[in-house]
Amino acid sequence: MMAVVAAGTNRIDPYVIPALDGVAYGLLVFVAASGLVFCFGVANILNLAHGTLYAIGGYTAAALLDGGWASLALALAVGVLAAGAAGVLLAGLLTPVATGNHLTQALLTFGVALAGGSLLVAGFGPDDPQVRVPAALEGSVVVAGHRYAAYRLVFIVVAAAIAAALYLVVRRTRAGMLVRAAVDDAEMVACLGVSPARIRAGVLAAAGALAGAAGVLGAPIIGPGTDTADTVLLLSLVVVVLGGLGSMAGTLLAALAIGEIQTLGVALLPSAAPFLLFAAMAAVLAVRARGLASRWGAT
């Protein structure tokens, strides 16, 4: 009896930490990607510079964090403002193509991402900067008999709070109502007298602020560096598309799934690690597209 229990714990035991870490990773990806959902769902903009907005937050964190709590608050404020401002700037740049097609937007935002990325590296140097979290969070804590980074544990709580706050804003406020209306019927919102340019600026500012916050808070997890923008953009695009292009709840689910695939999946099937993310995405998208097509064929 005892032996069976021990064997059972042993089999699950090595996967406790990866499963927990998958939640932290998934929530980070969710906060990073949530802005992109707005870009897509509300403003109908394919923003390939989204990862760069995250990188702005990350570099801000690296520059300002000094191991104290005050610096974390300062970095968060500055990072949110800077990335939000960059979002507004991007909205201005997007004016001529905003009502156009995704491919032209991709051309513009890809250009902005390339140029912005090299400006960031020129400003902050090619080396990955050091990110110093508050001293109290620097160590590790014991979870279910395992050591786990204290910062990540706290991050899970903070990111979950951000996700809940986002839900409340979208559900309960006038801005959120407009957002939901715009996802459903953009022409309707335009008729209400809200100028599309203002919606666009607001959406990109919000997207920038969220990405900036993710960049600051996520810097100890996906740190700033030359490849950060690409990594974050790719993960964000994956979860936004998997989540159904405009649904917050869908994006959250997709982000948690990607988080677990990238940690628990890797722990369970290490030899398949390089294929897991993209194989899962291609399979899900293809099956879903087939489902849509067949439902359409039946009607």
Binding site: P14, P18, Q130, S140
Partner: protein, 397 residues
């Protein structure tokens, strides 16, 4: 038929790009090799943008430092250094190298961060008969007649440290590294030698664990496996951002007290600053450390610190040595240092005095026969640095 964009405005966009191109291709095309004025053209190809930019700038700065401390001359000739950007790999390195070799007609090529880039450039070297004195990446090559490296072969660091790990660690060792050629070679060098001298790997199937590269930013799931394996120590190789992620996460993981041994790139240069305290006590093997005690190194480190923040890295050193190699080879190539003559002269250099200690080219691999050092990350004044704590094997074939 109406078109998506009126073709005239599309043509305008195309023209913009085309004008940019023609302006560029119109300028510059000089003769090959040394010019009449006694100067010589050397091409330096390194990653000056993208993922490997920090290594690329070290390589450029190391070469430039040698020129600056030698009146801008190599072998008594004024050097016209043509720099091109390797980018992230072969796809951008090959066209840039084509420019250096076929338009600028350099007499010798140096630098190159990525092994894949070197592999991509070798057909061009064969075609143009120009020698490459590479200062970093070195792939497996069938023909090395025009390829020389001042760095190392990727399996040598692991080979050099295996005996020390075998002697020091009581128990099995877990081997983990990035899933690409550099990672395979670095880890194979260690595991092959380690197993041959009776060491035991902790990996479940006796095979090294490889993590997707560069996609892996989160090593936690791998640390859980290492914990479960009961390893007494870990051997690894990562460089750049992956090295920062690995070391920082290792220090917060449940295996933080398991000794970590690594190829020196894990804690070399800029990554050590980003890792901070998390890197403390890591053991690594490398062919260089800035605290080596010899006259060449003291002069090199002093000259470097006069121009740059921080200490020089092995990347800068290898590029500095590449300049030293070219200096002597061009000088020995006579009054007409053609690329062929320079290549022949490199093969006859013999011992080369260097900040890393004296080394020489292997006659079969054209890479250094050199001594490797055991280093540990320790406090040095206000900063952490890689301090030499012992000599390891001299390796080279």
């Amino acid at each position: 038929m109406p078109h998506t964009t009126p073709w005239h405005s599309r043509a305008l966009g195309a023209t913009l790009l085309a004008v940019v191109l023609t302006v560029g291709t119109a300028c510059g095309d000089d003769g090959p090799g040394p010019s009449a004025s006694g100067s010589i053209k050397v091409g330096l190809l390194a990653s000056l943008s993208g993922t490997y930019q920090s290594v690329g700038t070290e390589i450029r700065d190391g070469f430039q430092l040698y020129l600056d401390t030698h009146d801008g001359k190599l072998g008594g000739r004024r050097v016209d250094l043509v720099v091109a950007d390797e980018g992230n790999g072969a796809q951008t390195a090959v066209p840039a190298a084509t420019k250096l070799l076929k338009q600028d007609r350099v007499a010798a090529l140096t630098g190159i961060v990525g092994g894949g880039s070197v592999a991509g450039v070798t057909p061009l070297l064969e075609e143009t008969k120009v020698p490459l004195v590479g200062s970093n990446g070195r792939p497996e090559l069938k023909d090395v007649s025009r390829v020389w490296h001042t760095s190392y072969l990727s399996d040598e660091p692991g080979e050099a440290i295996a005996q020390h790990v075998r002697d020091t660690v009581q128990g099995s060792v877990y081997a983990i590294g990035p899933d690409y050629q550099g990672g395979w070679d670095e880890l194979r060098g260690f595991t092959d030698t380690f197993v041959k001298i009776g060491g035991k790997l902790a990996n479940s199937d006796g095979k090294t664990t490889f993590t997707p590269f560069p996609a892996t930013t989160n090593f936690t799931p791998y640390f859980a496996r290492i914990k479960a394996s009961g390893a007494a120590a870990v051997y690894t190789f990562y460089a750049g951002s992956a090295a920062v992620d690995f070391v920082k996460q290792y220090a917060q993981s449940e295996i933080k007290d398991v000794p970590l041994y690594a190829a020196g790139f894990l804690t070399e240069g800029g990554v050590l600053n980003a890792q901070g305290d998390a890197a403390r006590d890591i053991f690594s093997v490398l062919n260089y450390s800035p605290d080596l005690d010899n006259a060449e190194n003291r002069a090199f480190v002093a000259a470097w610190k006069a121009k740059h923040d921080g200490s020089p890295t092995t990347y800068a050193l290898a590029s500095y040595d590449a300049a030293a190699v070219l200096d002597r080879a061009i000088g020995a190539a006579g009054s007409d240092p053609t690329p062929e003559a320079i290549n022949t002269a490199i093969g006859q250099l013999g011992q080369i005095a260097s900040p890393r200690g004296t080394w020489q080219f292997s006659t079969t691999t054209h890479s250094p026969v050199q001594k490797w050092y055991l280093r540990q990350v320790r406090q040095d004044g206000r900063a952490l640095s890689n301090t030499v704590v012992g000599d390891l094997a001299t390796v080279g074939r």
